[in-house]
């Protein structure tokens, strides 16, 4: 796993660019940044399990903090990119921004619209 603070800084820059480029809402960016912080702290505590499911747990907790009764949705299988083809995406039913576990083991932030190729937006964890 890449050093946490380096990746968090890179993610912070990526999220800012995505918001400025109107490819992601400020709300989504706040949630993902908070999820990344939670994910990183879960890595420093036993049982130190760093997995897609712990990333989703961090995302769920960040959503709950940001949005009262916020929900996470099954966005279906990623498509159109060999790095994530067929992988399960979990995220927002409105923005279609979510997380996916790549075939190389990394976790990526994507936009997964129905019947559209999944767009890889940023790295969440390597």
């Amino acid at each position: 796993m890449q050093r946490g603070h380096e990746l968090r800084a890179a993610l912070h820059d990526d999220l800012r660019e995505l918001v400025e480029g109107r490819r992601m809402s400020a709300r989504d960016a706040r949630i993902l940044a908070a999820a990344r912080r939670r994910f990183e702290s879960s890595a420093s505590e036993p049982p130190r399990v760093l997995s897609f499911s712990s990333a989703i747990r961090a995302l769920a907790d960040a959503v709950a903090d940001e949005i009262p009764s916020g929900l996470l949705f099954d966005l279906g299988a990623a498509s159109g990119s060999s790095r994530v083809e067929g992988q399960w995406v979990v995220g927002s039913a409105i923005s279609h921004i979510g997380l996916v576990e790549c075939h190389d083991g990394a976790i990526a932030i994507v936009r997964a619209r129905p019947r559209c190729a999944t767009e890889l937006l940023a790295e969440f964890a390597l």
Binding site: S25, R27, S53, I56, R57, I67, D74, I94
Partner: protein, 225 residues
């Protein structure tokens, strides 16, 4: 416009709330979306919207205006007018009703009734039955399935959002329904008529599409063609 159901409403299990939740999901599957309302449905939809608001009000905070202070305009039009009206709430930094009072009301309603998200987990289904599960559990979190039927809509770039505005609206309606499911789960024996989100769903079924433009300004949109 009717879509292909994603969920088999009659196979959903949610404990004591199974029957009303199935009814709600069946209603969702049966809605003819984005078509002009039947005779009599306009008045019914306005009344249902009023009731939705009244049912939410006791549970929301003071950012929610009382119905008497609300300016409600009934608008009619086609897809272009609907797109233009929705653009008012889709642009960045627009007032976003859905992230305010409805979600807060659902949360407070849950807290008052002792709801804990973990209570749902026994009803999570394995992902081998994708059309018979409202959600699956992953590491203690519920991952919800989009319940709204799938409409075959063209890509639409006219407003820069890439998705057809109807799909956007339907995605929001899906989230409303999931809040309705959770509301019913914590009060399983209450009538669906007491569930604000089920009432909103009925408003959709009558052809009324509320677009909350500002805290005290609502457009109830009806297709006229």
């Amino acid at each position: 416009m009717r879509g292909t159901p994603r969920l088999d409403a009659w196979r959903i299990e949610l404990g004591a709330a199974t029957k009303p939740v199935r009814s709600m999901l069946a209603m969702l599957n049966e809605i003819d979306w984005f078509v002009p309302p039947d005779t009599g449905s306009i008045a019914a939809a306005v009344a249902l919207f009023d009731r939705y608001w009244a049912l939410l009000e006791p549970w929301a905070d003071d950012t929610m205006y009382p119905r008497r202070a609300l300016e409600l305009d009934v608008e009619f039009g086609g897809l272009d007018q609907f797109r233009a009206m929705c653009a008012n709430v889709r642009r960045p930094n627009a007032y976003d009703w859905r992230y305010g009072p409805p979600k807060l009301a659902e949360r407070i309603h849950g807290i008052v009734h002792g709801f804990d998200e973990q209570d749902l987990l026994p009803f999570a289904a394995p992902n081998i039955a994708p059309n018979a599960a409202l959600f699956i559990a992953l590491n203690g979190s519920c991952i919800w399935r989009t319940p709204a039927p799938e409409l075959r809509l063209p890509r639409d770039d006219t407003d820069g959002n890439a998705r057809d505005v109807r799909q956007w609206f339907l995605n929001n309606a899906s989230v409303d329904v999931m809040h309705g499911v959770r509301w019913q789960f914590v009060e399983p024996h209450a009538s669906l008529g007491c569930n604000p989100f089920a009432t909103l769903l009925e408003c959709y079924a009558r052809g009324g599409y509320p677009i909350i433009l500002a805290p005290a300004r609502v457009c109830l949109f009806f297709f006229d063609r």
